[in-house]
């Protein structure tokens, strides 16, 4: 199918993403990479290491820690950054935490806005970053399908879907005024299958939660929640059961549903994914608040 000199689709996606990463570093003063510890972040980070090899990464990583992330994610994050000598900035919205905001009492919408969106905006303002890389993909969700690779944000971090800059060829417009910023999505054109295929091809390390194991879970509204620590309030008579489960996507443990699975290797995970009839975002409870909810969150400054 491919002539002697032709790139496979993965190598072409890789070349395009590396071009974007380098373009941002060349044209912005103070970029940062949002690192969510998930599989997409792991691929984005690998592409960045490739783009600037043999130099170290020319920007820091930023993790918005809601304190409700799976514990295994935090361990993985710290080990990975130490091993690769990466500069990691961790930010938590301490005011919201001090007010006791949590996903159990305040609902996912308010919790997400405070600990994720507001926390992110605080961290970006504090660092004075003019560009922030994110690992979002256009195939994830409908409103993402229209997002530019360089997504312009005003001084409040808001996205205006009706007022996006035209984006032609691979000529990205990096011009902004003070206080404004650009969110950059180098993985825009990758699909979930591309991500898994690349992880497999490149042997990229990922958080063990993606692989099936015996984990303590409770069932609520038809979703399996992992009891990752004692903060998850248990209803009367509710006791965690050990089940063979894994996660298709990682986030805050009270908002991320597990799936029953026996997949303990990458090919098994990919096999499951190919047979799956549900998109990965269904494991994310935040998208269900209302139709068009991702679009609403992004207007407010969410990634």
């Amino acid at each position: 199918m491919i002539d002697q000199r032709g790139l496979t689709h993965l190598r072409q996606l890789e070349a395009e993403s590396i071009h974007i990463l380098r373009e941002v570093v060349a044209e912005f003063d103070n970029p940062v990479m949002l690192y969510s510890i998930g599989k997409d972040s792991s691929v984005m980070l690998r592409l960045a290491l490739k783009a600037f090899y043999p130099s170290p990464l020319p920007f820091p990583l930023l993790h918005i820690d809601t304190t409700f992330k799976f514990r295994e994610m935090i361990t993985f994050r710290d080990d990975f950054c130490r091993e690769h000598g990466l500069e990691l900035i961790v930010h938590t919205n301490e005011q919201a935490l001090a007010q006791g905001i949590n996903p159990f009492d305040h609902g996912s919408a308010k919790y997400t806005h405070q600990l994720k969106t507001a926390g992110l905006l605080q961290a970006l303002a504090k660092g004075g970053y003019d560009a922030a890389f994110g690992g979002a993909r256009r195939d994830e969700e409908q409103s993402r399908a229209k997002e530019r690779i360089y997504s312009f944000r005003d001084a409040r971090g808001s996205w205006d879907p009706k007022n996006q800059r035209p984006e032609l060829w691979s000529l990205y417009n990096a011009r902004i005024n003070k206080q404004e910023s650009i969110r950059v999505f180098p993985l825009s054109n990758w699909t979930e299958l591309d991500i898994w295929q690349y992880i497999y091809l490149e042997s990229i390390p990922i958080v063990p939660l993606y692989f099936a194991a015996e984990r303590p879970v409770v069932t609520r509204d038809g979703q399996l929640l992992m009891v990752d620590d004692e903060r998850l309030p248990l209803a009367e008579g509710e006791t965690p059961q050990f089940e063979q489960v894994r996660f298709r996507t990682l986030g805050c443990y009270p908002l991320t549903a597990a799936v029953r699975s026996s997949a303990t290797t990458l090919p098994e995970i990919i096999g499951e994914m190919l047979l799956a009839r549900h998109s990965e975002r269904q494991g994310r409870l935040i998208d269900f608040d209302e139709e068009g909810s991702m679009e609403t969150k992004k207007r407010e400054g969410y990634f």
């Binding site: 199918m1 491919i2 002539d3 000199r5 032709g6 790139l7 496979t8 689709h9 072409q12 996606l13 070349a15 395009e16 590396i18 071009h19 380098r22 060349a26 490739k50 783009a51 090899y53 043999p54 130099s55 256009r138 195939d139 409103s143 399908a145 229209k146 879907p161 009706k162 996006q164 800059r165 035209p166 984006e167 032609l168 060829w169 691979s170 000529l171 417009n173 011009r175 902004i176 005024n177 825009s188 054109n189 699909t191 299958l193 591309d194 295929q197 091809l201 090919p267 098994e268 990919i270 096999g271 190919l274 047979l275 009839r277 549900h278 998109s279 269904q282 139709e291 068009g292 679009e295």
Partner: protein, 597 residues
């Protein structure tokens, strides 16, 4: 078929899918041609839609759909709230699906007439254009317009989908007459090949599966076409163009030039030339993450090391020695105007071309395309969605190829320097052999600088403050003007604060000042030119000897320390008079006419 519940079979599947090609296509059509339905159908029939996404569309179909409760495929692609409400697609959306042979990226672009810019956006990277024609209505003007834009944006392959065949009883004659009419028109365009397919997006005829309703049709289904159209030969591998993106310097022994090959092939040992400087050198090595490469070809992203210590920075192009791009400041190009604010030939724009951004003005508007007749008609300026031909002058060199030969080194965008918006897409027709600097050409005065200096007893000089505007700066300039006048000099203040009204570009004040300086005046900028780019512009136009940049400091003692181009002074209330006196003397010294004797 692989049994995906077995790990070995998954590995075999992965191996097969690693060998896929990537094909981008743009789908265009009028509002009612059924484009969204066709894309929804392709996604659905290639199983690119998950059950929960389908359920969400089914919910929405019941609420706002127009299909009476059946799945409204159009809702799969119309993502934004505003679109669902208005029932139209208002922006480019990207969709993904894949088969065993290829991965596909669809740019779904609106067909409504005022959205030419969205189509151009989607078309800019596409390998294939897919145009829908309603079998009942035949070839409308809009279809011709879409084909014209697709051709202008350099899409090599065109597939004309004659849709709603079910509504004309699958009649071969309806298909044939549209094919004939459209073929005649398309022969005047630049496509490598044009294919015609009779389909019904709603019924699924000839989309993924061959339709029994069109036994007279011997061609492929749409999906077969998309899987087979030959795209690898579209990649330009003949002439090396490597625009330098970024210079890696991790230690003193390593200097690597990062970039993505725009065209061509490169190997260690190849003779190359760095442009615009023209220095010749050789490729020492090509570095990838896993080691050195034997060769790299477009569109790979790599890091190149050169054999000699030549001066290379971002925006330069490493090119093959024979068959170089044109190195020029003057180009002819087609523009697609994308902004609500019309083209202003008086204004400078940023022009981004490969990895190089320069300032540019549109020096001549040759004409615009009448989208009804597709003929060029005269015009003064372009408005939103206009397509036309212009000449552009840049303040620095570009390394260009005609867009027809190279979709990377032939493309550029124009950016408004005030709003920062991307206002136009440009396709280069040709680069002119370089000639004089545009501004110098315009300022062909008959009075020489020497004659002016003789008359006025001074040479022209621009004086401006750098940095944050300082309290009392404009007063200082008016005081300085008075002092210089008393000393017998011709000086004037350009009061930037009074002239700025938000619509004038700051660069205009730079240009105004340089005109006065060339006329022999001492120009004092009241509140300074706060943007370094404008001071740079002055410096480019006048040269360093006719520009004096003053750094004011309210902490330093009253003194004036001057280097050749800049000068530092104190501006405290106490020291003010003394500073003005010192400044006026420094300015007078710089303007002095030195006689040959």
């Amino acid at each position: 078929m692989h049994d995906l519940s077995r790990a070995e079979d998954v590995e075999a599947y992965l191996e097969q899918h690693e060998q896929k090609e990537l094909l981008r296509f743009v789908a265009v059509g009028s509002v009612d041609d059924g484009k969204s339905t066709l894309i929804g159908r392709l996604l659905h029939d290639t199983k690119a839609i998950y059950e929960d996404q389908l359920a969400s569309v089914q919910r929405a179909s019941k609420r706002v759909g127009t299909t009476g409760g059946d799945i409204d495929f159009a809702l799969l692609t119309d993502g934004l709230k505003a679109e669902r409400e208005q029932g139209i697609t208002i922006d480019v959306a990207y969709r993904y699906f894949s088969t065993a042979k290829r991965k596909f990226i669809i740019a779904d672009t609106p067909g409504h007439v005022q959205y030419t810019r969205n189509m151009a956006t989607g078309a800019s990277t596409a390998n294939v254009a897919l145009i829908l024609i309603d079998a009942r209505h035949g070839v409308l003007q809009q279809s011709r317009r879409h084909a014209f834009i697709a051709s202008l944006l350099g899409i090599p392959h065109l597939a004309v989908c004659i849709n709603k065949m079910d509504l004309v009883d699958y009649a071969e004659s309806a298909f044939d007459s549209i094919r004939e009419e459209f073929s005649t028109f398309a022969s005047g365009l630049r496509f490598k090949d044009v294919s015609f397919l009779p389909i019904s997006a709603v019924a699924g005829d000839n989309v993924v599966a061959k339709s029994p309703a069109t036994p007279w049709y011997r061609g492929t289904t749409l999906l077969e076409y998309l899987e087979a159209v030959p795209i690898s030969r579209d990649q330009n591998l003949s002439e090396l163009r490597f625009p330098v993106q970024y210079v890696l310097r991790p230690n003193l022994d390593y200097r690597g030039f990062c970039g993505q090959l725009a065209s061509g092939v490169v190997r260690p040992g190849d003779d190359v030339v760095v442009l615009p400087s023209g220095q010749a050198t050789k490729i020492l090595a090509i570095d990838g993450y896993t080691g050195e490469l034997d060769e790299a070809f477009a569109p790979m992203s790599v890091t190149i090391r050169l054999a000699d210590e030549v001066d290379v920075s971002r925006g330069d192009v490493i090119s093959c020695v024979d068959g170089r791009p044109e190195v020029t400041r003057r180009i002819e190009a087609h523009l697609v105007w994308m902004s609500e604010v019309p083209l202003d030939p008086e204004r400078a724009y940023f022009l981004k071309h490969t990895t190089r951004t320069v300032r540019a003005t549109v020096s001549r508007v040759a004409g615009k395309v009448d989208l009804e007749t597709l003929n060029e008609v005269p015009t003064e300026r372009f408005h939103l969605n206009d397509i036309g031909r212009v000449e552009i002058l840049c303040n620095q060199h570009l390394m260009v190829d005609p867009y027809e030969q190279n979709r990377h080194t032939g493309a550029f965008v124009l950016i408004d320097e005030l709003s920062n918006d991307t206002v136009a897409a440009g396709m280069i027709v040709r680069g002119f052999a370089d000639d004089a600097h545009p501004l110098e050409r315009r300022l062909a005065s008959q009075i020489s600088a020497e004659r002016r200096a003789e008359r006025l007893g001074q040479r022209g000089l621009a004086v401006c403050f750098a940095g944050v505007p300082h309290a009392g700066q404009s007063d200082v300039m008016y005081d300085l003007e008075r002092r210089l006048f008393d000393m017998g000099h011709a000086a004037c203040v350009i009061d930037v604060a009074a002239l700025a009204d938000g619509t004038r570009s700051p660069s205009l004040f730079a240009d105004l000042g340089s005109q006065c300086v060339r006329a022999g005046m001492i120009v004092l900028y009241s509140t300074g030119l706060p943007r370094p780019s404008d001071r740079l512009r002055l410096r480019e136009q006048l040269g360093p000897e006719q520009l004096l940049v003053v750094f004011a400091d309210d902490a330093a003692p009253a003194s004036v320390s001057a280097s050749s181009e800049s000068l530092h002074c104190a501006l405290t209330v106490d020291e003010r008079d003394r500073t003005i006196s010192l400044l006026s003397k420094a300015i007078a010294a710089r303007c002095k006419v030195v006689s040959d004797g």
